[in-house]
Assembly symmetry: C4
Homo-oligomer: 425 residues x 4
């Protein structure tokens, strides 16, 4: 894996360099318009360097695209390469060092085509780092808003002209301040447009501003208020409980036990139900995912210590999770028996019929109720949860399917269950 | 319970004291920056007192945390104690009386770590007082908004400097006025920033302001427009009725009867359906909740006067509620009989087959239709609701399960039903 | 009914008079504070008249409340009378002519309690005139916003003092203009607060303004964009169609036929599905509603001309509506026959097996396919819709249930079907 | 079709000319009020020309309406003609050249009735060009907003009077600038109302502005953020995946494979589920749509090359699509066989039982598994997807229904399957 990892690290590094180059370039273009930066040698050098970078990027992209096409897998293809000819043309057009070649600044606008790359690379990073995708959205929004106000500020200076007696920096800060004041509809009125051109520009800016700001704020609020599914489910449950106690008088104690259960469910991340995702997947991927989920839990059960992946893959489908709250009974003496249980986490006590004698304590990795799977019988002990317990249940029907395939595990189970039977039943 | 109650009262009281101390402290810090409060003796005393309070709080929190851990139940743990080490460190850092120890005001910012406690304690109160949780959210929002504008006002004075010829109070009010004018995007323009620093601060404030205000307003509107589930269901029903009369000509009288029914359902809180909450609970809690709901209704039925909780717990699962509107028939002579009914509230009349003779009036606590449960027969009387009636229905199938377990109640029912049969059937 | 109608007309008239009196009173109180209206005789007369009105209203309300209580039905009770003691007290407190009795204007604020009546009476009108309820909401919102700005304007004048050199009207218009400018966050800055009191008031006004305006705008937008269910369904369908043609190339002709069908469905109000409302109703009301819907359609069918309501009530449950688009086949020669059809609207042609011969044209009120209900057979003609057709289908199974109860209609059907059979089959 | 096409082209052209005439007219009316355009000869000529156009439109509309009515189909009727008398009257009232006939400009307001036509024609274009309907909405919104601000600007000049020393253009630009500044609540305050009339107008404008802007921004944001159903489904799936990796540690490789699958699904437009639309259609249209979808896919299968539409219509209902991801097994040696498969796109390999020998490669248009449909057997080869594959599955049960109807295709299949059996099984 380390080779692949290094390759993807280099790849990510390069993409980030290109993004920074694009951002710098896009930020400098309007300043060039205003302050004629083309005449400065550092800007020329920068322009040439960026052209070189863009040229190298083109080469790398072509290579990457060819590699992907030959694989016949569609991986990587979608977000960052030339699946459509127009992106190729955009990359070509952005290559030339326009500031060096032409005295007219307008040619530099061709460079803006490379901006497309920033968005597409950000998408690529989002798809490859889903964990951080909302942070990437956030960064992209901030960057977009910054460039938006930066360009508008420069255009305002261009239309309005430089204020006499103010430095370039002062002029720029004032323009930025005015643009933001207008976009946010604060509109102090200390700086106002004069003449028809400025007034029409301001009119446009206000109409545009309202829309852009609405989109920007809505997106930001969306990112910040997005709740993870477990928290969301927790809050919905609490809302339902609140509605309940609004209409029915239930004891304070029961109310607290229910709200504690919801908290437990949330904190243990049990609140998230993966079945919704499962439904959207084709059979192959669904199976693999289920295996990944329960793999570790199953391996923690001593009974299954040395089994192979095939067995775990099979049994993973049949183990269904359940939760007991403090004091809940798993089963009582005399109940019909048709499933066995594996303790994934928690502590339970096995009791005699009258609950006067504690037979044993069951802890993480223990299993119980297996006796009923070999004979048609009823429970011979009462099992009660001490605190919260997470268990896996295995139904008799499914159990038999698995045992038929894995006789050695069946044997192990049977011997263990007999020894226990003699011990305390 | 009174001992527990006292304990929780003391506990709540202490938490409130700490919250007030934190709020005071957080509000005073920026004022100390501006007006050098450290030089005043009352501020020093206050600073020391708060340190003492915070120290005591640390001790209490540690004790509380230990108590909870030993219980092996997760109660109380999540919202207010050291389940994560970082909260412990935050509490430690906030203890020192920085205003007394250091002449530099910046050290006091460590005290802000205690702000975390306010949020967590508010969460704790919300979880323990679900009935008032929206009021707590409301209070927290107001407090947050107040501190937000207070700090921004102080920062503005710090950047802008004091206006000559104005008292400290005047300066503060003016700054607060300016900050709110900017945040709400009113922007009168009587006070405007001068110089690059002020302009950049204002730019930031405007961008931030838009977002914070959007969040604040959205939260407030959310709190005020949140409807309780019964009212919500009532309004949805009325909307559906309105849509209906938009397309179909139905008699005014029928329209009013339907809207009256919805009103009745709402006012009697029947509109809220608890089954949605039930589904999210594990078996143990679900059972207990159902018992709580129907306990009182069942005990009101004279037939079940002296039964024990076990019986009520069993029968609670099988009683399903139903509503009759004025004039509705419960059953007519000759209908197939397969359930009995208990009147929880309302008045019904039992009539002869041709509805000419009123056999009896059935009132709260009465039951009827029990005869059909002992023999396979049809109804021998017609029963019609006079006003609105709330009933519980008990199906024959479930009824038999319960009777098998409780022969003495079966006997009581049978004898009562026979005596009635002789009376008017 | 005309007696009832007159009574309810008088009742509505009286309620409207009281509402107008309350609105006038509430609007005048702040003006009295500013301009000392109490000293004017017309204001005193008005105050006394309103007291008299309120007194009469109290008497009427008590009478109305008693009437309702004795009816044992809950009709009318909820929205407009003394179901809760606090409304009684509010009505009592609002009675006295405070402007005549006291020189201090503050006592008049007791009159504001009567404002509660406006809201409750508006609710009453909404519940009794569901067809106009959104217009009533609209009016209430406008009134509320007007009174809100009116009071704020008066308070602003009270705080700010009268502008010298301006008439009272000018002062009021200026204050109103300033309040609205601030509430909508336009904030021109031509009028700004001076001094701490005014600044704090403005600060509060801005924070409040943001919230109130958000609520007001959201409510208004809600009222205007509320679509009736049929239009909503039409637009959803069109959206789905648009999505479809985005992904699949389907012939323009088919696209237009589908969009035409949706338009037809909408315009014929078939798009609204009443079953959703039905589900929320208890059995009695549900039955009655279904009867109302199909009553007229069934009576239009010549076969059922002289039947009684009992028959219609029974058959209404079994007739299920269906739509045919132009050119659609209802059935073809040889199809298995297990239902008959009634043409509610439209034109269909019965054709011979090879579709070369038109046997007959079926129009509104005609029925067909009845032969198959008496014998187990297949269709002996092909039936095709010429334009759009609305039909009712009656399944064989349900048909038999109905016929058993109404032998005379069965006989009519059988004779008609035989005569037709001879005609063209 | 070309004749129809030409007709609809002429029709669309005419409608667009009328729309442009209406827009011009509506834009000029307020300018006529301000600048007395009626006295200019070009305006008179324009007014007469527009009257002529409107008259011709009336004639055309009547003809179109008659044509539609006689068709007995409801096509075209709803959006653009005289289905309701009021539109006829509106068209009549808008015909007269008021600017020529009357010196009083107020009469021209009758012309505004024609504005109704713009909205209705836009609706017509939307219904006939669903693909572009959001662009049409966008255009309509922009136009509406432009006319709204244009009229308000003219009204402001009318109330405020011309600024002395400014040209007409300057006056108009200033008014437009002021209106937009107010509507967007920027409110610089460089232009403010003076006097009661202006203040009241501004007050109204602000209240109106808030509402109109909220509607305008909400509509615009709605148009821009509307996602097509496939993209929406893609993003929901990615959200679910993100939630999953938030709670469970799954290998990076599996995460990428799942996200790749979602991307594939989206890009191949498989993400859009047409079944939702199907449900809303009556039987006839549903059938036709399904035929259109699968027609081409089925014709690409060599086995069905020369079949007629009847067969495709029948089989289209039974073919259900499925997707395999790279490496997924379609079936393995020994699996029970009860369906055959057609490769629509992709590459699969048929392998021997131990997967050591590649029997054949299956490509677009190939079919497999057909042997199992003639005998009750198990799979004799293992089939595995190389890349992503789109297949159609045909269940044995449905297959038999089709074969019974088309014996010649059954024969073809049987012979082909036998020859293959001999080849590699």
């Amino acid at each position: 894996m380390s080779d692949n990892y290094l390759k993807s690290l280099y790849d990510s590094g390069w993409r980030i360099i290109i993004i920074l180059a694009v951002l710098l370039q896009v930020g400098l273009i309007p300043l060039d318009f205003l302050f004629n930066l083309r005449s400065l040698s550092w800007y020329k050098t920068l322009d040439l360097s960026i052209s070189l970078l863009f040229f190298l990027d083109l080469i790398i992209n072509i290579a990457r695209y060819k590699g992907i096409k030959s694989q016949a897998l569609l991986k990587d293809v979608y977000w960052d390469t030339y699946d459509s000819g127009k992106y190729f043309i955009a990359d070509i057009l952005a290559i030339l060092p326009y500031a060096v070649l032409f005295s007219n600044p307008w040619f530099q606008l061709f460079r803006l085509f490379k901006w497309v790359r920033v968005i597409r690379t950000a998408h690529f990073f989002q798809m490859r780092n889903l964990r951080f995708s909302s942070r990437i959205s956030f960064g992209l929004l901030i960057l977009g808003f910054f460039h938006f106000t930066h360009w508008l500020s420069c255009i305002w200076i261009w239309i309005h002209g430089f204020e006499p007696g103010l430095s370039n920096t002062d002029n720029y800060v004032q323009a930025l301040y005015w643009v933001v004041t207008t976009l946010t509809s604060v509109g102090y009125g200390d700086i106002v447009p004069h003449g028809n051109v400025e007034m029409l520009f301001t009119t446009l800016l206000q109409i545009l501003g309202v829309g852009v700001l609405a989109l920007f704020v809505a997106s930001m609020v969306g990112i910040f208020t997005k709740k993870n599914p477990a928290e969301q489910r927790f809050m919905e449950n609490i809302d339902k409980l609140r509605a309940l106690i609004h209409y029915h008088k239930i004891p304070k104690d029961l109310e607290e036990r229910i709200s504690d259960y919801f908290t437990y469910e949330w904190k243990q991340k049990l609140g998230y139900d993966e079945s919704e995702l499962m439904e959207t997947l084709p059979y192959g991927l669904k199976n693999e995912l289920q295996f990944e989920f329960k793999k570790n839990a199953i391996k923690d059960i001593p009974l299954f210590e040395c089994v192979d992946d095939h067995f775990i893959r099979d049994i993973a489908q049949y183990l269904s999770p359940m939760v007991l709250t403090p004091g809940d009974y798993l089963f009582r003496v005399g109940d019909a028996a048709n499933s066995m249980f594996f303790v994934q986490k928690g502590r339970l006590e096995a009791l005699s019929a009258d609950e006067s004698k504690q037979l044993t304590i069951l802890k993480n990795g223990d299993f119980m109720g297996e006796i009923a799977l070999f004979k048609s019988t009823t429970r011979t002990a009462t099992v009660k949860s001490i605190g919260y317990s997470d268990l896996y249940e295995l139904q008799k029907k499914e159990f038999n399917k698995v045992l038929k395939k894995y006789p050695e595990i069946a044997e192990k189970l049977r011997s263990k269950s007999q020894s226990r039977e003699e011990r305390y039943m």
